[in-house]
Symmetry: C2
């Protein structure tokens, strides 16, 4: 019966016109008469015709697939981002080829190869923590396949990327705490190698300065983000000559560790502000009083949009300087309304 999908040929045969006419009619080409168009379209819908994407993609040398390589699909930040990527891809008629590196540089490299084999039209990557070489990405550039980095940006030049700017979010966070009356605000920052750590620090400083307060560098401490590391820096904080009454932490995990620790010491009254990684925070008993939202969904959308734009940009004339998209998604302080 309806076993094999209808093709353009069959429509042509039934209507006794040529395949090309049918094709053009369906694509609303200007050189086809209105009546013919109508007839073709009518029959097409009757026969439930749907163009064979494979054939089109093959013919046009486009796979209409974008590769997405992320460290961990099951991490909330990334799965939310995927959600955004998928929504855009869907809307723009692209397919998402998904892969996860599990934060392993070797596997990541393999995946990049695989993506090449699959002839993806573009690549969206959040690099693994352990990635230290980047030739596999350079290769894509040579092949003229656009690559957009996303959230975790490698430290190389001439790349497209989308990342969140944590400076202003942090600024708002610190400002919020200042407005609440806090004067001694600690910050548990991440490793100094991360761009993200630097941005957080800048935001902190900016907030202090704009409130005409002196910036005390010793109130910002680096942390390896583990639980024991967090406890260590908390001890430093709590023994500081100026004991903070509020603390900004690098992420939700650190916040939870720190809060758990202070409670175990039966310390009360320290306000925590964090960066939103965990939607589940809504279900918890003790949570930061505010958090900086990084909009992973939005970031994913943006990155996908840029990638697809790049894929469809007019052939870059050789010799012309290539422009690089460096998009920054602003972060924002979210203060939950108490229920």
């Amino acid at each position: 019966m309806s076993d094999k999908p209808t093709t353009i040929k069959e429509i042509a045969k039934i209507l006794k016109i040529s395949v090309s006419t049918v094709s053009r009619a369906l694509n609303d080409h200007s050189s086809i008469g209105l009546t013919t168009k109508m007839r073709v379209k009518k029959l097409a819908t009757e026969l439930n015709y749907e163009p064979n994407q494979k054939a089109i993609q093959f013919l046009q040398g486009k796979s209409h697939i974008i590769g997405v390589i992320l460290p961990e699909l099951s991490e909330s930040f990334f799965s939310t981002a995927i959600s955004g990527i998928e929504d855009v891809a869907y809307k723009r008629n692209y397919t998402v080829l998904l892969a996860q590196s599990h934060d392993d540089a070797d596997r990541e490299k393999l995946l990049v190869e695989k993506m090449k084999t699959q002839r993806v039209d573009g690549l969206l990557v959040s690099v693994s923590k352990t990635t230290s070489t980047y030739e596999h990405f350079e290769m894509f550039k040579k092949l003229n396949i656009p690559v957009v980095f996303f959230d975790r940006i490698p430290p190389i030049k001439d790349i497209h990327y989308v990342a969140s700017n944590l400076e202003n979010g942090t600024y708002e966070a610190v400002n919020f705490l200042l407005k609440k009356g806090h004067r001694t605000i600690g910050m548990i920052n991440g490793p100094t190698t991360l761009v993200a750590s630097h941005e957080r620090k800048e935001g902190y400083i900016k907030a202090m300065i704009s409130n005409r307060l002196k910036f005390d560098p010793s109130l910002i401490v680096s942390c390896d983000l583990s639980e024991t590391g967090t406890i260590d820096v908390m001890n430093t904080m709590l023994n500081h000559r100026r004991k903070p009454t509020a603390i900004v932490t690098f992420n939700d995990y650190v916040a939870l560790f720190a809060m758990r620790y202070t409670r175990s010491l039966e310390l009360e009254g320290i306000d925590f502000v964090s960066y939103a990684n965990l939607p589940i925070i809504n279900y918890m008993d003790y949570t930061p009083i505010a958090s900086v939202e990084q909009f992973p969904y939005k970031q994913g959308k943006k990155a996908a949009d840029i990638l697809i734009d790049l894929i469809n940009r007019p052939k870059n004339e050789t010799g012309t300087e290539q422009a690089y998209f460096n998009v920054v998604v602003e972060s924002e302080l979210i203060v939950p309304t108490p229920k």
Copy 2:
């Protein structure tokens, strides 16, 4: 330079042999001489040849894409499952076309259409909460495209599915609580329409009976899984003539709601056991003392494997009864070792 990928044609031209010979040589066809094979393969690797998947897929009428429709990508259960699906698809050379229904039946229907348009070779679905009609899936059956349901199974006949059996996990959970000395065990179950609710109940009953205890149906209450709903049923529980000393909850969210509520009443000493949805539970202060693991990763893997098997099964001779895969992944009680 290396702008356009190498094709089989170029290899043929360089070696002054025909395209078909090259193709066969690369595919280790028996009718090609060893020397020719060697020459071809050597040049192929030198030229970095990689077959154009699109062309092959087009020619063979196979897209090598499996569609995956899930309610929410960012929910941990599903993103973990995806992880498993992706790993299998990757290994078996399939591409995952991802889409999320956001638990909206209409969107789900649209997505199914889209999948059809994209000519997926197979479909993996966890149906949305609001889905109540299933013709769009029937259509796939007519087109001879296999569909495997997964975790959330629609209540219709003659389908392939993979789901977890919660009966034995629940049995273990209740048993565990009984061993701990509890005699009055409550259960906050989900809507009675769900298969999952039924299985949980069966497991509960089985555990009671095998311990020679009387089963009290009034200790099992249905809940809409919302926070207010949870509080309602908790009130019922707490005012029960036999107040439970332990409660099995439908999922982690319900457990958290319930635990928060009991703490707000300054009630202590009720043990909770839940079903593992949330990895983040490790970071929390108050958690269930045990949980039933449903192995979403394993389920995803299994479902993907079955789907791809179905895709590649020999053409089902008309008239032959079709066999349906109904795979059950056993659940298991996990008791965290206290740190």
